[in-house]
Amino acid sequence: MNTTSVKLDDLRTLFASTDISVVEIVDALLQRCREHHLQFEWQGDRLRACSGGGARSDIPLRKSVFRAILARLAVLCNERTPNAVSPYGGEGVLEIGDNSLASVRVSFTNTSAEQKLELSTEIGSANAPHSPINLNGPT
């Protein structure tokens, strides 16, 4: 099992947790994305996740929980840079933990028609950014 599949398994476990709130899920998610570029998109009736190595996984989650995760990220982006993003989408940067070099670029859309999220390590931070991921292929 490679590290990418381990990461997606870890994410599935995180989202399936029955004892943590949306706020705590977001905090944990930001910690995990320091190592891998992560993309999420609501497709049909499921959340599809993709990690930097190209591995993909469907994550069982209520749509409203995913939308709440996106809303929480919007609030965090605006706390760091006022009016950086709208609740319905945008791009922002978050610093993770005590190390100001560890920054994560957050790009998201949270409308009734579309919900997606991309988390990537910011240029100049401890981890280099990865190439964009195609959630739909190759299969």
Binding site: S21, K63, S64, S112
Partner: protein, 124 residues
């Protein structure tokens, strides 16, 4: 009773007031149903943003809907409990998400006699 808030446009607030939350509501130009009804405690906290912010953004996106307002509803505690039983949305974080199977049906059934107000969002 617990007071919850929903940030939206005046047109939508008036419709919700009369008929209750509509999980089949589709925004103009959109193609997907609302599915749930997102609210927050009037007392906060607001970890997902304030209802005023949501109201303003919706009003900007839909400028022909009468401007931003807050729909205030007094909801019985037992209905709130249906929505917060999922640990993802603990009451301590102020988010009350009514979804199918998580309080939405019960809220719609109880809707008509509930006390409601539409409050203008100031500073617009």
């Amino acid at each position: 009773m617990i007071v919850v808030l929903h940030g939206t446009t005046r047109l939508r607030a008036e419709s919700i007031c009369k008929r209750g939350p509509d999980p089949d509501f589709i925004e103009p130009g959109g193609g997907v149903c609302a599915e749930g009804f997102s609210t927050c405690l009037a007392s906060g906290p607001f970890p997902l943003g304030t209802p005023q912010e949501y109201a303003r953004r919706k009003a900007e996106t839909f400028p022909n809907e009468g401007g931003p307002v807050i729909l205030l509803v007094e909801v019985p505690e037992e209905l709130i409990a249906k929505a917060v039983e999922d640990v993802c949305f603990p009451l301590s974080q102020g988010v009350i998400q009514f979804d199918e199977g998580a309080g939405l049906e019960e809220l719609c059934t109880a809707w008509v006699p509930l006390s409601k107000q539409i409050l203008a969002v100031e500073g617009v």
